[in-house]
Each structure stands twice: as structure tokens, then as C-alpha cells.
Point group: C2
Chain length 138, copies 2
């Protein structure tokens, strides 16, 4: 599973990388960083959970750990990107309070704003954002 | 060519992304960031130069722009990673004053220390580093 964690992130973004372990084995991780263009924003690049630990709330717990950490680093917004075909990811982010950034070109898939070719030709993306605030301070 | 520049870097690491343009067309770019684990280190992730502009000193100029920028951001070391099969890249980095990090496992290819499986199975890498200092201040 650790092969899925890009080395570059593991080395240079340690303050905002978290792993979940069970019996000494990594069963989940989240990796992201504080934006260097917008220092009050953080970006979640990837979350991975061992298939045997899906639906356990682990991804949510990893995201919440990330939220609290970047709030303490001065961030007030978290952003991430997903593919319109990844319905589980869309539902997950919505359940965590993420909003969808609206797209001026007005392309939508299933009623959700989509950025066409955002990650290259044919690679449409949904852009999520979520304000950090009271909940994480509690 | 701009398709080669990962969107994530373009959005969130603008202070350390540089493009070279010719007649309104992007002919080269360098992308990297300040390490968030080691704030006095910077990492160059990718440099790309249009094949028509190779051997023109453009990659070197882009690296030098990056060096000066991250020095001003408080960095004293620049790191990057390349594949042992990429002889041009190895020669380029050496000519720019990069050193090769030595590897405790003592695996070498053509006399150069190599980190076996650094970026996953079968993905050996050479790790370069270079101190920033007087030259960039001049």
C-alpha cells in the first residue's frame, strides 16, 4: 500500500501526511500540502484505504486529522479534485461538507459543475472546496 | 507543452514555477516547491524544454531562476531526482554543480550511487543535491 504514496509527498510534505496502521501494517493514508500560492489554503492530493478497511470511517478520520493540522498551520480552506466518474469520491466529499466549485463554462455531469480537460485532454475534474472553522476547533 | 506541467503544481506552487516563452508560445518550464518537511530545502520536480530549444541553455536558465527564487525564500539546498538511464539528465545536473547523494546499500550504476526501487518496484533513482550560496547571490 505504501507504494501508492508518491515518494515526493512522503519526503517533502510530512507535516500534512498521515497514515493509519493496524497491527503494524499501513491500512490507510492521506497526503496533501499547504498551497504555496495561497498560504491560507491546503490541498488534499490523495487518500488511500486498504479495501478490507473501507466503509470503516477511516478515510473520514484521515481527512479530519488533515483539517485540524492545516487549520493549525493557518489554512482556512481545503481543496481537492476528483473525477466525475468517481461517484464514491463525490459522495464522500459531499458527506464531509465539501462544496463544488462552479464552472463558468457551465458543463455539468449529473447536475454537478465539471471543469472540462482540467488535468489534460479528456481528463475532466470536479473541484471541491471546504471552509475550515468551528467544527475543527471543537 | 503546457499539458506536461501538472495542474496541481501550476495552481499551488506558482512562486517556484517558471515558464520561458518565445513568440507567445511556452518553450520551457521548471516546476518545484519549497519542502514543507525541510523548509530550508527546495525540490525541483520537473523541467521541460521544447525539442526545438534543446542545447540552448534554456533548462540551465530556468534552474538558475529557480535557485535565486528559493534562496530568497530561505532555502540553502536544492534537491531533485532522476533515473539512472537518463544520461543527459545526469550530465546536466552535474554541469550545474549538483552532487549525488551516496547510498548506504552501495548499489552503483556506472559508478554513481543509485537508490534501488526509490520510486516503487524497479524504479531506481539517483538523488541529486546542490548547496545554494555565493553564486546565486552574485
Amino acid at each position: 500500500m505504501s507504494d501508492m504514496l508518491p515518494k515526493l509527498f512522503f519526503v517533502h510534505f510530512q507535516p500534512t501526511n498521515f497514515v493509519a496502521e493496524q497491527d503494524g501494517k499501513i491500512v490507510g493514508f492521506v497526503t496533501g500540502f499547504v498551497s504555496q500560492t495561497f498560504p491560507d489554503e491546503a490541498y488534499i492530493h490523495f487518500v488511500g484505504v486498504d479495501p478490507n478497511y473501507r466503509k470503516s470511517g477511516l478515510a473520514r478520520a484521515l481527512y479530519e486529522k488533515f483539517f485540524i493540522t492545516v487549520l493549525n498551520l493557518g489554512c482556512h480552506t481545503v481543496r481537492c479534485v476528483t473525477s466525475p466518474v468517481n461517484k464514491d469520491s463525490i459522495a464522500f466529499h459531499r458527506s464531509l461538507g465539501f462544496s463544488v466549485e462552479s464552472n463558468d463554462s457551465e458543463k455539468t455531469i449529473d447536475g454537478i459543475s465539471v471543469f472540462e480537460g482540467y488535468d489534460g485532454e479528456g481528463e475532466d475534474r470536479i473541484l471541491f472546496y471546504r471552509a475550515l472553522g468551528k467544527m475543527e476547533n471543537a
